[in-house]
């Protein structure tokens, strides 16, 4: 993007966001702009398009193209046991308390392609809690939800994931959890037997259940402050008292209205607990 065209580009993006909302029902108005601009520029580059005008023509005539666009704009980069210390902390500080409930409900909000979900399921399995836990895995994007359900990840990542699994306090042979086949690793479907996959849009949908633990890591960084606040209110409504909220390592409740109701369980890993 030429520097002198930046202002024009930003105006065109605003118009495009409105149009996408009208045509497809996806509302990006609360997304953090710096990131949206960057994602769109990147997408234009990938598709060899030179203007928002050109992009519009494809977006509104080809729903497959739109799906592809959606995939790129909503970042779906994720990995298993990302930030091993977070999982270690969940294992050491949160799961022992959750184990006192007869039945545990977890919401993995913005589960993307499922790497985080399977990491959580493995943790619960090893702590003997998976059988009495129901995980609601939601995402705005139906395509990634289908992928998450399958639990097939590239085998090329397994070395890194195995190391992260051990760093997160894993005690078994990580390879027990998947079968390798032609460059892919398929994780045991028993891990997600109690998982409900469900399309949910944090920007527009409401609370749908009550949870003991909500995990939403590195999803809200893509939202502006107003939309973040909406989602924090939504999480607050969806957590039982003394429930846990786990955010990404650099996400904070500090600027939110709900922050006074929450205390840190682990400040470094941004695990919060709701007051009683």
């Amino acid at each position: 993007m030429k520097p002198e065209n930046e202002e024009l580009f930003e105006l065109e993006v605003e118009a495009l966001i409105k149009e996408i909302h009208t045509q497809y029902g996806y509302d990006f108005s609360g997304y953090a702009r710096a990131s949206v601009y960057r994602r769109i520029k990147r997408f234009l580059g990938q598709k060899h398009l030179h203007s928002i005008d050109e992009l519009r023509k494809f977006l509104f005539t080809d729903s497959f193209f739109f799906e592809n666009f959606l995939q790129e704009i909503t970042v779906n980069v994720t990995e298993m046991f990302r930030d091993p210390t977070f999982y270690k902390s969940l294992r050491d500080n949160v799961l022992p308390i959750l184990s006192t409930y007869p039945f545990i409900k977890v919401w993995d909000a913005g589960c993307s392609t499922g790497e985080e979900l399977f990491s959580l399921a493995i943790l619960l399995e090893e702590e003997g809690l998976l059988g009495r836990t129901k995980i609601y895995a939601t995402d705005i994007n139906q395509k990634v939800l289908r992928q998450a359900k399958e639990g097939i990840f590239s085998a090329s990542h397994m070395t890194a994931y195995t190391a992260a699994y051990y760093a997160a306090g894993g005690r078994r042979d990580f390879a027990e959890y998947y079968t390798s086949n032609y460059g892919s690793a398929k994780f045991n479907s028993s891990l997600v037997k109690n998982v409900v996959f469900y399309p949910h849009n944090l920007a527009t949908d409401s609370s749908f259940n009550e949870f003991h633990l909500i995990v939403c890591r590195n999803v809200l960084i893509y939202f502006n402050k107003a939309l973040q606040e909406r989602v924090y209110q939504l999480f607050d409504e969806s957590l039982v008292s003394l429930g846990y909220l786990a955010l990404g390592k650099k996400e904070t409740l500090a600027m939110s209205d709900i922050s006074s109701k929450y205390n840190f369980v682990d400040k470094n890993n941004r695990i919060y607990r709701k007051n009683s």
């Binding site: 520097p3 930046e6 953090a32 702009r33 710096a34 990131s35 601009y37 960057r38 994602r39 970042v75 980069v77 990302r82 930030d83 091993p84 210390t85 992260a164 590195n218 809200l220 960084i221 893509y222 502006n224 402050k225 973040q228 990404g248 390592k249 650099k250 996400e251 904070t252 500090a254 600027m255």
Partner: protein, 190 residues
């Protein structure tokens, strides 16, 4: 009105910690322009770069949290594993999307975003490193009529990054770290 209209963004890789430390050690606690520091670091490395800088500098060194606002007297350090972007309201947005130039944080990403928000009031400084990250971002800052500064390749521990930047932005200023520090002090408003 927003208290600040200028921004200094510093990028570096191998040798960048030492070089940035030397530059920043001369700045007072009330330095009037916020500074963002993007250094390449090991992925998932839980280093205490923030503590290191905070101990040695008069500036308050913080690791960037999503959506915090820019303030004078602060050194904002890019966290491991996130790209750092700037919003029009002078807050940060973090981003954990694909690596750029094999890096996350990527210097290009922050330089580009800073230039989009601060335009000619952006001061970009690229230091030592064995990477080409930062050179296209520095060029973008320069094209937006901001200030583009590159550490003298003869002084840099690894000259790859400064040389790549000088090639992409022939109009940049090439300075030793003492000169960079002196220049930053001229920008300070009491």
């Amino acid at each position: 009105m927003l208290a600040t209209s200028r921004l200094i963004v510093i990028g570096g890789s191998w040798g960048g910690i030492q070089a940035s430390m030397k530059i920043l050690q001369g700045l007072p606690a009330n330095y009037s322009i916020p500074i963002v520091l993007v250094l390449h670091r090991l992925r998932n490395y839980e280093g205490n770069m923030q503590e290191l800088f905070d101990k040695k500098l008069a500036l308050k060194a913080v690791e960037i949290d999503d959506k915090v606002p820019l303030e004078a007297g602060h050194l904002y350090i890019a966290p491991a594993n996130y790209h750092v972007l700037l919003e029009k309201d002078h807050t940060f947005s973090l981003d954990d999307s694909e690596l750029e130039n094999y890096s996350r944080p990527s210097i290009d990403v922050t330089f580009n975003s800073a230039a989009d928000v601060f335009g000619k009031n952006t001061v970009g400084i690229l230091l030592s490193g064995a990477s080409k990250d930062g050179s296209s971002g520095l060029k973008y800052i320069f094209e937006k009529r901001g200030t583009a500064i590159v550490q003298h390749p003869g002084e840099a521990e690894i000259s790859t990054m400064p040389l790549a930047a000088i090639q992409s932005t022939p109009g940049c200023s090439i300075m030793h770290v003492e000169r960079i520090q002196a220049y930053l002090l001229t920008l300070h408003e009491h």
